[in-house]
């Protein structure tokens, strides 16, 4: 679905998105809903800010000792009777998963929501191996029917409206009465529940992601509101967890700290409905639960981020708050970013994972308003890291030539105060002269990006430094 990033065409994608009225309507939901809910629930917990510090510190400590915590965790998984598969690349992870499914003779594979699964484009691999992957998160199910990528990391179908979902259901669920009423969202939900219930019960393998892996106990944790992740993992014979290496946390106490900020930041709930801790397969005497428990641990570029200016990004707990609060995301939506991870977190992460040559636009398409950082539960300095990418682009001469030369001319003057004062005084007087009738310019050469959309206010004329000098002269 997302095998080929369209991130290089961010501008073109954004152009399309801005023209798409239906999308713009859907995005206004994001702008209203998430923000108010998060603010309200944060205000209700006096310790919220301190918990954010705590969450940040836990992740920092874990990352600094990631090798050791991975070892501890792996031992515990083995003790509990689980299997660990290490995957350096997306390809290795797909292979490991397909192999497990094949060995089990699987036909239907249910899936809980997992961004790593999107990152490695897992569904295509399962299909290619002759099996049927079924996304079970309602949003993921909808976009799977549409053969689309998620447009938001916690609300994959946030770009769609109910009418679109209705027509997809009618197109795909042809075994149901064509005259059924689907005009209400709750009817859509009920239909999805029925259709997916059969898949849950028929599945041979269930694949979930993991929000956390706990070193103390060898446990994987999933957090959902629907309960689909649980039905995915307790009904089939085999449960496969796909997780990346930075999901580690040391202890049950540590994960509790982070869980206190996760749902609050994500959906504005005090706690998500289902937080599930899974350790190994079914135990002797158990009447339900999977008979095999596998964890596929993925690196895919993350180890290379450790020890660099981008290490902080590995604290990310995928809550989505940064995109919920991002004016650029509100304007263009998630698909414009062109790969799995949108919004501010994607603008930092995508260049690391698919290369800054492909995803170079993303860290540039930010006003640096800083609202993402101000809400990030693990306090990732997202604007600072986007700036790091801009620095790398500048050093590697990936910055567009027009920007480079514009900056160069400006820097030439700015570094020479006397020349700057002389030139600017003249320049502004001239500009003021041309602009004096209207007080603004409706078009300017070299600034079409501005004047195509808004007027450019004319300068008053002369410079402040010049006027100040004149005032001082008059006074003395």
């Amino acid at each position: 679905m997302t095998a080929h990033p369209t991130s290089p065409y961010f501008k073109e994608n954004a152009h399309e998105a801005l023209k798409d009225e239906q999308l713009q309507m859907a995005l206004s939901n994001v702008r209203q809903g998430f923000i108010d809910k998060r603010a309200a629930v944060a205000a209700k917990l006096p310790e919220f800010e301190a918990l954010r510090d705590s969450a940040r510190d836990i992740k920092n400590h874990t990352l600094a000792n990631l090798d050791l915590y991975l070892e501890k965790w792996e031992n515990k998984v083995h003790d509990a009777g689980g299997h660990v598969h290490w995957a350096r690349t997306a390809e290795e992870a797909r292979q490991a998963i397909v192999d497990i499914c094949r060995k089990a003779g699987a036909k239907t594979v249910t899936k809980g929501k997992s961004m790593i699964s999107e990152e490695i484009n897992l569904n295509a691999a399962i299909e290619a191996a002759g099996m049927t992957p079924v996304e079970t998160d309602l949003g993921e199910y909808i976009i799977q029917l549409r053969n689309e990528a998620p447009s938001h990391i916690i609300a994959p179908a946030v770009h769609l409206n109910a009418t679109q979902v209705e027509s997809d259901f009618r197109r795909v669920h042809t075994h149901l009465d064509p005259n059924r009423d689907l005009s209400e969202p709750v009817q859509l939900l009920t239909e999805a529940r029925q259709v997916l219930r059969e898949k849950f019960l028929a599945a041979d393998v269930g694949i979930t992601g993991a929000n956390f892996l706990i070193a103390e106990t060898g446990t994987s944790v999933i957090v959902t509101n629907e309960g689909n992740g649980d039905l995915t993992q307790i009904l089939p014979k085999i449960h496969i967890v796909i997780a990346s290496i930075e999901k580690l946390v040391p202890t049950l106490d540590d994960v509790s700290q982070i869980l206190r900020v996760l749902a609050r930041s994500a959906t504005g709930q005090e706690m998500s409905v289902y937080t599930t801790f899974s350790t190994g397969p079914r135990r002797p005497g158990d009447v339900d639960g999977p008979e095999e428990y596998h964890v596929v641990v993925l690196d895919n570029g993350r180890s290379a981020m450790l020890g660099t200016s981008f290490q902080d990004m590995l604290r990310c707990i995928r809550c989505g708050a940064c995109m919920n609060h991002c004016p650029v995301y509100h304007a263009v939506g998630g698909h414009a970013y062109g790969w799995v991870y949108p919004g501010p977190m994607g603008a930092v992460l995508s260049p690391s994972l698919i290369g800054v040559d492909k995803a170079g636009h993303l860290p540039n398409a930010s006003t640096f308003c800083g609202r993402c950082e101000s809400v990030c539960p693990v306090r990732i300095p997202l604007p600072k890291m986007m700036r790091h990418w801009r620095e790398q682009e500048f050093e590697r001469h990936l910055t567009p030539a027009t920007v480079r030369s514009g900056l160069g001319v400006w820097a030439f003057f700015a570094k020479r105060p006397t020349l700057y004062r002389f030139a600017s005084n003249l320049g502004m007087k001239a500009l003021a002269f041309f602009g004096r009738d209207k007080g603004k310019f409706t078009s300017l050469p070299f600034a079409g990006g501005w004047t195509d959309y808004r007027d450019f206010p004319a300068p008053q004329g002369g410079t402040f430094q010049d006027q100040w000098k004149a005032r001082k002269g008059a006074k003395s």
Binding site: V30, N65, E226, N228
Partner: protein, 223 residues
């Protein structure tokens, strides 16, 4: 080199470590051994009736419903009453938890069957390991006593929790699990359940009963 070795090698190279450093190993061992508590919200640090009242209030805020009864003997009646009020058939599925076994189900007209769910049950009863007042969260552990499938497949989940098992924070409950199963060991599944299943995936509208139960009814037993 295996993928495993290469990943560990890459992590260690990036961090500039060998993995053999004593101070690092000690710090990690100590953190796991001591499992220090972080910040525990004051909100839940209550006892007695105040703690139970917070649990009830928070559970209601998650859109769960809750009945309080005096003792175990009063549970079946309370559940029969809930089913009548809710227009549900008088049929229940439950696991082998001895606490459930002690309850006088036969004094009611309820039809009780035992075991996991295969998806055909409308209403199930499980006994919680604990409740957490901080967020009105129920904590259930897997096993033949309270099969995990009963938490998810039925449309209506009824969960019984003992008042003496209600704690202020998640950390308090982890301690009880460590005391029961031994430090570093976990039941196959620990479920935190905070209200009925829901989804906001269609136009951000909150709808209950996405895949799991559309209703969670809590019976809080004792004072």
């Amino acid at each position: 080199m295996s993928a495993r070795e290469e990943i560990f090698g890459a992590v260690r190279r990036s961090l500039g470590v060998t993995g053999q450093e004593q101070p690092r190993r000690e710090a990690v061992n100590e953190r796991i051994a001591k499992a220090p508590r972080g910040i525990v919200p004051e909100r839940g640090q209550l006892s007695g009736e105040a703690l139970l009242a917070l649990f009830e209030e928070q559970a209601k805020a998650t859109l769960a419903t809750i009945d309080r009864v005096k003792d175990r003997a009063a549970v079946p009646d309370a559940i029969a009453d809930f089913l009548r009020r809710t227009n549900l058939p008088a049929r229940l599925r439950m696991g082998a938890d001895p606490r459930l076994g002690e309850m006088p189900w036969d004094k009611t007209a309820l039809e009780v069957s035992h075991g996991k769910s295969d998806g055909g049950d409308l209403v199930a009863v499980n006994h919680a390991f604990a409740g957490v007042a901080e967020t009105g969260t129920l904590i259930l552990t897997s096993g033949p006593d309270n099969p995990t499938t009963l938490n998810f497949l039925p449309d209506y989940a009824i969960v019984i929790v003992d008042a003496k098992d209600v704690r202020g924070s998640y950390e308090d409950v982890w301690q009880r699990i460590r005391d029961r199963d031994g430090k570093g060991h976990m039941p196959r599944t620990v479920n935190w359940i905070t209200g009925p299943s829901r989804s906001g995936d269609i136009e951000q509208k909150l709808l209950l009963g996405a895949h799991g139960p559309r209703s969670v009814h809590i019976v809080l037993v004792g004072e």
